[in-house]
Subunit: 254 residues, 2 copies
């Protein structure tokens, strides 16, 4: 059983919550992979450098200057901070961008109605590399920066990286994938943190979407959750910190 | 035969020179490791963030805010840029800080006359990890950020990392260590780039130091070069880009 845990959202911005999430992750038995997003630090550093973040539908427009910032913050500061904390917790973490060992290969997104800039859509995951690390008792910690194998780094959605890693490694392992964020699961009432759905299937998801109950930032996360489930991942959860160590949150059904 | 190449100084700040150095490195036969320093980008980003760099004897005072900057720039931007460029050159690079897989363990320097802040002195190198990577045809690319295994990242001199890696791995390999920078070797006249010493031994080094011929920034580099030679590294060179692919520069004798 392989666990792939994605941590993101406000969890990354709060040192105490990040510490709790990493302590729970370090205690998971068996092979495991951590994927982290960017959090607010990217925008904060960007502003301090005089580069105003540009977002369209919650996605960052990544021009050359912004790519430098997210590479610094995600693959540098955040990734190494998480790796050092996990090492202190007895977890033999190994930080990776997609360029490292060609772990995650992507392609610059084509320019449609919106030019997202240096944003990557994933082409492939290097299972052989990841499995070799896991067999050597290393725990990959993956940042959302990938490459195109031609020398170009690309900003890449962390939920999608987690999904693609989980689906690809489902060829070799029974995989549990957990998308962990600041809520305890998928909420039917975004204003009520206790309104967690214990489970969600595709039909119900479509209904909630049509009714506008689930919207905004949850849609890409849930699209990735369903893609993972349809792609052969055994268990897919959307959860909070409490859901890292135990089965607590929203379980995704096909 | 294992090659350990340190690249630093102004090489890192010039895209064309960095490209030439990486192309030469990618062509080296056999197992190899690249160690890179920080270059000017650390100070540039620091200033843009409103943190004035503080240097004492050419060494950076690393307070908490500066540690964030060097972690971002060295372990993030610079390391991943180099890794992506090497991948494009067909070299299967794997970027590492000392925290990754506990590759390089260090200890925060004690406060003497000068408090250097979050600066690490190396305690040990994880040979088993590095050898495993080399056996799997991965090329470690090491940034000068290490950790203390208690969760603290530490800014660490890249020349010393290269030396300690080379000495430690000399237990397992015949090692060639090259310190590559913007000059073609050790100069007897710092104003004449053609005044390269073809070789240098300890006695001559002491003489040049007493006479003030070799001074300033060259001293820590040469101290590391001699430490490597005395520590069992087979060949130690101080060289420029031309010295990466062939034997060209200053050869260090005990």
């Amino acid at each position: 059983m392989l666990t792939v845990l994605k941590i993101g959202g406000k969890l990354l911005d709060d040192e105490a919550q990040l510490g709790s999430a990493l302590a729970a992750f370090a205690n998971i038995e068996g092979p495991k992979i951590l994927v982290h997003g960017g959090g607010k630090k990217g925008s904060e550093i960007s502003r301090r450098l005089g580069i105003e973040p540009q977002m369209v539908d919650g996605r960052r427009i990544t021009d050359a200057a912004t790519l430098e910032v997210v590479t610094m913050v995600y693959a540098g500061l955040l990734n190494k901070t998480v790796v050092a904390k996990l090492q202190a917790l007895g977890c033999n973490a190994l930080g990776l961008s997609g360029a490292d060992g060609n772990a995650v290969l992507s392609k610059k997104r084509g320019t449609g109605a919106i030019d997202y800039g240096f944003v990557g859509d994933i082409e492939s995951v290097n299972n052989e590399l990841i499995i070799n690390f896991l067999e050597n008792n290393l725990t990959p910690v993956v940042s959302p920066i990938t490459h195109d194998s031609q020398g170009q780094l690309l900003n890449t959605n962390a939920d999608t990286i987690a999904q693609m890693l989980a689906v690809s490694l489902a060829q070799n392992f029974e995989v549990t994938l957990k998308f962990c964020f600041e809520k305890n699961g998928v909420l039917v009432d975004p204003t009520d943190d206790d309104s967690v759905l214990p489970s969600l299937d595709s039909a119900a998801y479509e209904g909630y979407k049509s009714a506008g109950v689930i919207s905004e930032g949850m849609l890409p996360k849930l699209d990735n959750a369903f893609a993972a489930k349809h792609g052969g991942v055994k268990d897919v959860w959307v959860c909070g910190i409490e859901g890292i160590a135990k089965e607590f949150g929203t379980l995704i059904y096909p």
